[in-house]
Symmetry: D2
Subunit: 125 residues, 4 copies
């Protein structure tokens, strides 16, 4: 998406930098994806990854997306033994671009924090 | 899934019929899918349909699933013009089977009701 | 809600009984609530219970709702130590009524099944 | 929450400024809230506002939250005439603080864009 003609920019604090805007758009998308898909019953990791990736790319200024749904062990073979997408089963890397700036943001479950951390991996521009 | 050995059945009212149980399982799944996926940004209808279908089939006693995400018109070409899955964009038909019974349940937006109605299309057994 | 004049009934299999319809409506609502609210960050159990209960009562033919969000232990005092609503933290009991029939349905995490089971507790009529 | 001892900071690009981090945390929370609650059946706006606000304040580094669920007109008095939370019914203002920086971010439906825009209202520090 071309960010030269952004009809939304006039609503932003005029001191917002392109770096900050790229970070902002990447962060919205990470938060959105996590909370949209958490709890989804999982039978086919690839199909769910594909839908999450396409949803990511629909968001404004997201240029690329990598998504991994981590396979969870089935404990027993009962009708109730399927996994639901949970905090330690989802990894996402997004690149958001706004004019000259590029932010790479990531979601990953960090065992040390016992938390699905979203963080800024790298910003350029 | 084999419903002969259902470790969950003892929690149900013992007068529950197989027909009622099949209806119950189909209805849970319709409610679950609708509220799990409503609001998802849509870029690729097929990818989203695939994920919803696979999620449906993970649910207990769901034997088959048909899912259609209805294409929404893009109004303009701005970064903000993508559709989000909304009440009149999703159609689902599920078959739930429990022992000898089979319930076909459906979600479809009914223009007359201005409502995404979930209904029992047919029950057998 | 009065179920005598139901503009949706004509979409249902004409052999659907009132009992089956009450079960159907209760089940939709359990599935909907679970997947709408799973993953919600929890700071105030009572506020979340209230919102889930009101959402339940908005659904067609739901006459009463009891909701419990079970307090989860905070492990440490870091910004990342809040709980998100997960499968073993939510208990719901609903009564759905359709004409002469009344279905009491429930969601409860069953330790034996390692599963948040939805079941029909009692049907009358 | 004290941001002096942030066990997550080492995962961030070391050039991330406090301003950028405050923006990042505010944006995650806006994206999360929107996609968590979109589609919720609404009967009591105040109860839903309360739950969304408490969920906002659970997120790391969110210092204050204002939430408004805009009342939607009921068209008719049928069991199917309740509203579901949709893109033009939710307004959120959040303040995120990280060390010396403070970002005020907002979600509001912008009629001109036909879009629920999330934007940076003001950044300080």
């Amino acid at each position: 998406m071309n960010s030269e003609n952004d009809p939304g920019s006039k609503y932003f604090d005029s001191e917002t930098t392109d770096r900050e805007r790229a970070i902002f758009e990447g962060a919205i998308t990470l938060g959105a994806l996590y909370h949209q898909f958490m709890g989804t019953p999982v039978r086919n990791e690839k199909a769910l990854e594909g839908a999450i990736k396409e949803s990511a790319l629909a968001h404004p200024y997201i240029e690329s997306a990598k998504v991994q749904v981590i396979k969870s062990e089935k404990k027993e073979n009962t009708p109730y033994s399927y996994p639901e997408l949970s905090e330690n089963m989802l990894e996402i890397t997004l690149v958001a671009e706004y004019r000259s700036a590029r932010a790479e943001v990531e979601l990953r479950y960090i065992r040390e924090l016992e938390y699905p951390l979203m963080y800024i991996k790298q910003v350029q521009g």
